[in-house]
C-alpha cells in the first residue's frame, strides 16, 4: 500500500488552522514523508481526482454552497478529520446564531443583504459524519500530530474529557481566579496544554465544553465576579453557540 492520500479543505473560517499546519516548520517535512499530500488549496495548485484516504476539513458550514462542498468531500474520502473549533463546534462563527440571521446581515450589508445568502452556522458533524476531532482555535500543533498518528494507525483518538485546569495545574500556573479574573478552564476540555493560561491570559473555551459540565456550578463561580448575566452568557457562548442553538 502506498502512502495515504491526504487532502486539506476549508469551509468558512479564518484559515488559521491550515497555517498552523504550514507552521509546523521542518516537522512538516517529516509529516510529508508519511503521507501523500494531494490537495492543500492555500499553498498548492495541484488537484486530485481520485479518492482521499484522509480529508482534513476546517471551517463551519454557513450556507448551502458550503454544505454541498462538505457533502462532496465526505463522499470522496475514507476518513474525515474535522479540525479547528469552527469545524468541530462552530467556533466564533456560532456567535451569529445567537440572534436572527437577518439582523446580522443587516448590520454588515445594510439593505443589500439579499445579495449574500447565509444560513445558521453549523458544525461539520451536524452535516456529515466525522471520524476524528481536533478541537481548538487554532489547533494545538502537538495534538494535530497526535491525531494524525492515530488516524494513520487506524486507531481512535478520544478527545480528553477533562478540564483545561488539569493541564494548567500540570504547568503550575497561578490560577486566574486567584488573580481576580474569570476563566473557562474548569468547563473546557483539555488537550491544548492550557496554552492561553501559560501565556498569562484566561481560557476562552475554544475547545468546547467537557461532556457533562456543571453549568450551574460554573455560573455560580462566574457570578462572584461582578459580571452582568449577559456578559456571563456571552463568555460561555463565545465558541459554543453553534452547538447550543441547534441542539435546542
Amino acid at each position: 500500500m502506498g502512502r495515504p492520500k491526504v487532502a486539506f479543505f476549508d469551509l468558512s473560517c479564518c484559515e488559521g488552522c491550515q497555517l498552523q499546519v504550514a507552521n509546523l516548520g521542518e516537522d512538516l517535512l517529516d509529516v510529508l514523508e508519511l503521507i501523500d499530500l494531494v490537495e492543500f488549496r492555500e499553498v498548492m495548485s495541484e488537484k486530485w481526482e481520485g479518492r482521499y484516504d484522509l480529508a482534513i476539513v476546517e471551517g463551519s458550514v454557513v450556507n448551502d454552497e458550503s454544505e454541498q462542498r462538505v457533502r462532496q468531500i465526505r463522499d470522496r474520502c475514507n476518513v474525515l478529520i474535522a479540525y479547528g473549533s469552527c469545524a468541530t463546534i462552530g467556533g466564533v462563527n456560532g456567535m451569529k446564531n445567537r440572534r436572527p440571521i437577518e439582523e446580522s446581515q443587516a448590520a454588515v450589508y445594510g439593505d443589500k443583504t439579499d445579495w449574500f445568502p447565509a444560513t445558521k452556522t453549523r458544525t461539520v458533524d451536524q452535516v456529515v459524519k466525522v471520524d476524528y476531532y481536533i478541537h481548538g482555535c487554532p489547533i494545538y500543533p502537538p495534538e494535530f500530530i497526535k491525531v494524525l498518528k492515530a488516524a494513520l494507525a487506524g486507531l481512535s483518538y478520544p478527545v480528553p474529557d477533562f478540564a483545561v485546569c488539569v493541564e494548567c495545574k500540570f504547568n503550575e500556573n497561578v490560577c486566574m481566579y486567584d488573580k481576580g479574573v474569570t476563566c473557562l478552564g474548569p468547563i473546557t476540555r483539555a488537550g491544548c496544554n492550557s496554552w492561553c493560561i501559560n501565556a498569562g491570559n484566561v481560557c476562552y473555551g475554544c475547545r468546547g465544553m467537557v461532556s457533562n459540565p456543571n453549568r450551574n456550578g460554573a455560573e455560580d463561580v462566574l457570578r462572584r465576579y461582578d459580571l452582568n448575566p449577559e456578559l456571563i452568557a456571552n463568555k460561555m457562548m463565545m465558541y459554543n453557540a453553534a452547538k447550543e442553538s441547534t441542539d435546542e
Binding site: L19, G25, M44, G180, T182, N198, Y204
Partner: protein, 440 residues
C-alpha cells in the same frame, strides 16, 4: 483580431480565501472583468455588538489566521482609543516588534510558498522541492523562526494570546529576549540568499497609473503602527476619517466591500508603503530594493512581491534593533497585565469611539469601535486591506486583458492568477474563494 475565448479556472489557489475571476471577451472586446468574492460572509461586526470591548481582540483576531496579529493590533489600538487608555512605551515597543514579525512571517510565506512557484514555473512548493529543496527548507526555517519568536512574545502566531487591551499578559525576560534575538539573527542570515534568489526572478511587465494609500507620518520612522492616512495623489487625513478614505461600496458579485478614493480605485500593501515611504526604510532594506531593481514610484503591481521582500529586510533589522534595545534596558515585568474581561477593574473605562489603523502585511487595516461607559461595544466596523484592493485588481485586469489577447488561454489565465496573487489577497479577511472564469 476578433476572438472569443472561454477559460474556466475554479478555486484559485495559493491565496488566502475563496474567489473567482470572471473575464468575458466577445469578438475581441472585453465585456466583463470581475473578481468575484464568493466567500461566505461571517458577520464579525454583528457578533461584536453587545460584547465587552475586552473581548474584541480575541474575536477579531479570528477574522483571519494569516494576519491575526495585525487584526489584534488594530483592534487593540481602536479599543484603547475608545475607552481612553494610553499604553506604555514598553507596550508600544513590543507591539511594534510583533507587527514586524507579522509582516515578516506573512511576506516570507507569500514570497516563497505562494508567489515563487509561479515565477519558477511550478505548481506549488511541492514542485519546488525537486529543484529548489534548499529554498523550501529555508522558507520553512524562516517561517518557523518568525513563528517561534511569536510563540515567545505572544504565546502563538495564529491568534496571539498575550497581546491584549492594556498591554501584555506575559512579558519576555532576559532568557526570552536572548532566544528571540538568536532566532532573528538566523533570519537575517537566511535573507541574503533570499534576496539573491529574488534578483534572478523575472516579474511580468505591466504598468498602470494607480493611487497608493497607506500610513504617512512626519517623523523619520517607516510608519506601520501610527500616523495619518495618505495617498500618492496628495490626500492626507486623520485615521478617524477613515470612511472618507475608503468610501466603501458593495457590488453584487462580491461578499466583500470595495473601496475608492481619488480615482476609481486605489492600492494598499507593501508596494503602496514603498511608494509612499521608501525614504524611511532601513538602509538594509534600501540595499535590497536596489538589488531587486525596485524604484519608486513603481506602478507594476506584480512587483508588490518585490516590495514585500524589501520590507522583510526592513522588519528584520527593526525587530533586531528593538530586541537589542530591550536587552539593554531590560523589560519591566511589573507591567504585565491581568485583564480577562476587566472584571478586576484593572483598566479604567469610559464611553467613546476609537479607530485603529495599522499597516498589516496586505495593507492598511482599520478597526473602529464605539463603546458605552461599561465598555460594551455598541458599534463595530472593520475595513480590510484586501477589500480595499479588490476594485484596484479589477481595474488592473481591465487594462491587462486587452494587452494579452494574443496569448494562449493558459498564459492569460496564469497571468491573471499571478496578478491576483501578487496582491497576496486575503479573502478570509475580506470575508474566502477565487475562481477564474474567462468567457471571450
Amino acid at each position: 483580431m476578433s476572438r472569443n475565448l472561454s477559460v474556466n479556472v475554479e478555486f484559485l489557489t495559493r491565496v488566502e480565501g475563496h474567489g473567482h475571476i470572471v473575464v468575458d471577451v466577445a469578438e475581441g472586446v472585453l465585456k466583463t472583468c470581475q473578481l468575484q468574492i464568493v466567500e461566505a460572509p461571517r458577520f464579525f461586526e454583528a457578533m461584536l455588538q453587545g460584547r465587552s470591548i475586552f473581548e474584541a481582540q480575541h474575536i477579531t483576531s479570528r477574522i483571519c489566521g494569516i494576519c491575526a496579529c495585525g487584526h489584534s493590533l488594530a483592534s487593540i489600538q481602536a479599543a484603547e482609543a475608545a475607552i481612553g487608555f494610553t499604553p506604555s512605551e514598553q507596550t508600544l515597543k513590543l507591539r511594534k516588534l510583533l507587527l514586524h514579525m507579522e509582516n515578516l512571517d506573512s511576506h516570507v510565506l507569500h514570497i516563497y510558498l505562494l508567489a515563487a512557484p509561479d515565477l519558477l514555473g511550478v505548481k506549488s512548493f511541492m514542485g519546488l522541492m525537486k529543484d529548489h529543496a534548499d529554498a523550501v527548507r529555508r522558507a520553512l526555517r524562516m517561517k518557523k523562526a518568525c513563528n517561534d519568536v511569536c510563540d515567545i512574545l505572544v504565546g502563538r502566531h495564529v491568534h496571539p494570546i498575550s497581546c491584549v487591551v492594556g498591554g501584555f499578559t506575559m512579558l519576555p525576560g532576559p532568557k526570552e529576549l536572548e532566544a528571540m534575538h538568536a532566532l532573528l539573527l538566523q533570519v537575517r542570515e537566511d535573507l541574503a540568499p533570499t534576496v539573491a534568489l529574488a534578483a534572478t526572478l523575472e516579474f511580468p511587465e505591466f504598468e498602470r497609473q494607480t493611487e497608493y494609500v497607506g500610513l504617512i507620518s512626519d517623523d523619520g520612522e517607516y510608519p506601520l503602527l501610527s500616523g495619518d492616512v495618505g495617498s500618492t495623489d496628495g490626500v492626507r487625513k486623520a485615521k478617524e476619517d477613515y470612511r472618507a478614505i475608503t468610501n466603501e461600496f458593495l457590488l453584487p458579485h462580491s461578499s466583500a466591500k470595495h473601496a475608492r478614493l481619488s480615482r476609481s480605485s486605489y492600492m494598499v500593501g507593501a508596494l503602496a508603503r514603498f511608494n509612499l515611504n521608501h525614504d524611511k526604510l532601513h538602509p538594509k532594506a534600501k540595499e535590497t530594493a536596489a538589488a531587486v531593481g525596485l524604484k519608486p514610484l513603481c506602478t507594476n503591481p506584480y512587483l508588490n512581491t518585490a516590495a514585500q521582500l524589501v520590507e522583510c529586510a526592513h522588519c528584520t533589522e527593526e525587530a533586531i534593533a528593538i530586541i537589542e534595545d530591550l536587552m539593554d534596558r531590560g523589560v519591566d515585568p511589573s507591567e504585565a497585565v491581568i485583564v480577562g474581561i476587566n472584571e478586576n477593574h484593572s483598566i479604567p473605562v469610559q464611553a467613546g469611539s476609537g479607530v485603529g489603523a495599522v499597516e498589516v502585511p496586505r495593507g492598511i487595516l482599520f478597526h473602529h469601535y464605539q463603546v458605552d461607559e461599561q465598555g460594551i461595544i455598541q458599534e463595530a466596523n472593520c475595513v480590510i486591506p484586501t477589500g480595499q484592493n479588490l476594485q484596484n485588481i479589477e481595474d488592473d485586469m481591465h487594462k491587462l486583458v486587452p494587452e494579452l489577447l494574443d496569448r494562449s488561454d493558459e498564459e492569460i489565465t496564469l497571468a491573471l492568477e499571478m496578478l491576483v496573487r501578487a496582491y497576496d489577497p486575503c479573502i478570509s479577511c475580506s470575508t474566502h474563494f477565487l475562481e477564474v472564469d474567462i468567457v471571450r
